[in-house]
């Protein structure tokens, strides 16, 4: 009987320690994922704003190009900053859209 109680108590302690350890591991993950999701949300909203600015500024003359690497997109945007009088903010946001 005593042995059974001892076994139950040990099982409870083991479960509690596992749950505690899991909670300790989960807390930093939640803390890390919160800023990560906020950053992703910001990037998405900037990409959406970049799409709007592309359609508003660049769409007056041409359609969006197919896939561009980030380096190519930067060069194209510098060219279009001169040709289409884009502002620095337009350039930054459209880059987020063309090469997220």
């Amino acid at each position: 009987m005593n042995r059974t109680n001892l076994f139950r108590a040990a099982l409870v302690v083991l479960l509690l320690s596992v749950l505690t350890a899991a909670a300790r591991n989960a807390a930093p993950q939640q803390q890390a994922s919160a800023p990560k999701s906020a950053a992703a949300k910001t990037a998405t909203s900037e990409s959406e704003e970049g799409e709007k600015r592309f359609e508003t500024n660049c769409g007056r003359c041409h359609r969006p190009p197919e896939a561009l690497s980030p380096g190519e997109a930067r060069t194209v945007l510098r060219q279009m900053r001169v040709r289409a009088n884009l502002t620095a903010e337009d350039e930054r946001l459209i880059l987020k859209y063309l090469a997220p």
Partner: protein, 342 residues
């Protein structure tokens, strides 16, 4: 000329080797087109390639240049006889840009003359909706469509819902074979309303050679948010004549999206009129009052390929004519150096 351009490209390529460590990638872009035109019953063929080289240097500089190589293929007697071909090549512009700040960009070299919008912004074959240039395209862009000298441009003022943009330039007289330009000065000012997708602008040029000429122009670009419609229009006036064109392009992207088989189709209509003034031998304008109507269809295939067809009817005291255009255009963009796509 072709060898010279290749040498120039090679020089640019060598210079870019030292630049490949930077974030921006030097690129070569542009368009390839094959166009068949039947005007007044006479058919000609016009293959063309127009590469644009863009090389960023540091954070604020950019070297950009566009060349055009095309061939004009025709039959000896118009509609009969053996075929002949004339080859043409030109450097459309070669300029160094310095982005000083958000309001000022300084351009030096050979640059496209910023008179109205057609010459500088919507003239390239991979951008224009119809193959034929407008009748008034020669106003404000003499003698070659480009200027040699310096230009200042940018966004002068901006608010939440508006921008005022400007470009002011001075061009010297240059008679070099590939960099010809007339002595002139001019400006362009525009108001852009992003929320309405509306741009309205005006241009002025003073031609300062053996004859002093004023050219005036105004333009409008409007893309309503409620429909996939592009409206573009220009008016221009000079001593040799005046005229306007207005063009509407409607893409059927509302039908199952822009990538559906029907959504890739775009219908275009353009109406233009030209009224002759006091012509001079240097003018690149019609020799009589002219009216023209164009109707066209563009089909946007995947991979930047476009198939185009248009019909135009021109009315003039020099003779009425039908103009048919059928063409294929490919728009390309590659890194200038192997492995430069990062």
């Amino acid at each position: 000329m072709f060898v010279r351009f290749l040498s120039f490209l090679l020089l640019l390529l060598c210079s870019t080797v030292t630049l490949c460590a930077q974030i921006e990638t030097p690129i070569i872009s542009g368009g390839v087109q094959f166009l068949s035109t039947t005007a007044g019953g006479v058919t000609t063929f016009n293959p063309l390639i127009a590469p644009v080289v863009s090389i960023p240097i540091g954070d604020r500089f950019l070297i950009e240049s566009r060349g055009t190589f095309d061939e004009f293929i025709f039959r000896e007697n118009g509609t009969s006889g053996p075929y002949h071909a004339h080859t043409f090549s030109s450097i459309d512009y070669l300029q160094l840009d310095f982005i000083a700040n958000s309001h000022v960009t300084i351009v030096v070299g050979d640059f496209l003359t910023p008179f109205n919008i057609y010459n500088e912004r919507i003239g390239p074959v991979w951008i224009r909706n119809l193959a034929d240039s407008p009748l008034i395209g020669g106003i404000g862009t003499r003698t070659s469509g480009s200027s040699e000298g310096g230009m200042v441009r940018g966004v002068a003022l901006s608010g939440k819902n508006w921008q005022i943009t400007y470009a002011a330039y001075f061009s010297a007289l240059v008679n070099a074979s590939q960099f010809g330009a007339g002595r002139s000065a001019g400006e362009r000012v525009a108001v852009f309303v992003p929320s309405r997708r509306l741009e309205v602008g005006m241009s002025y040029q003073r031609f300062l050679q053996h004859q002093h000429l004023n050219s005036w122009g105004s333009y409008l670009v409007w893309e309503p948010r409620s429909a996939p419609l592009d409206v573009r229009a220009e008016y221009a006036h000079t001593r040799g004549g005046q005229g306007y064109w207005i063009e509407g392009a409607y893409r059927l992207s509302r039908f199952r999206g822009p990538d559906s088989w029907l959504g890739r189709l775009q219908g275009i209509a353009r109406v233009e009129q030209f009224y002759l003034g006091t012509p001079s031998p240097d003018d690149v304008l019609p020799g009589a009052d002219t009216q023209k109507v164009d109707l066209g269809l563009n089909y946007y295939l995947p991979h930047n390929l476009r198939v185009s067809g248009s019909y135009g009817r021109q009315f003039s005291s020099l003779g009425n004519s039908n103009i048919w255009n059928v063409g294929v255009t490919y728009r390309f963009l590659f890194p200038l150096l192997p492995g430069g796509s990062k």
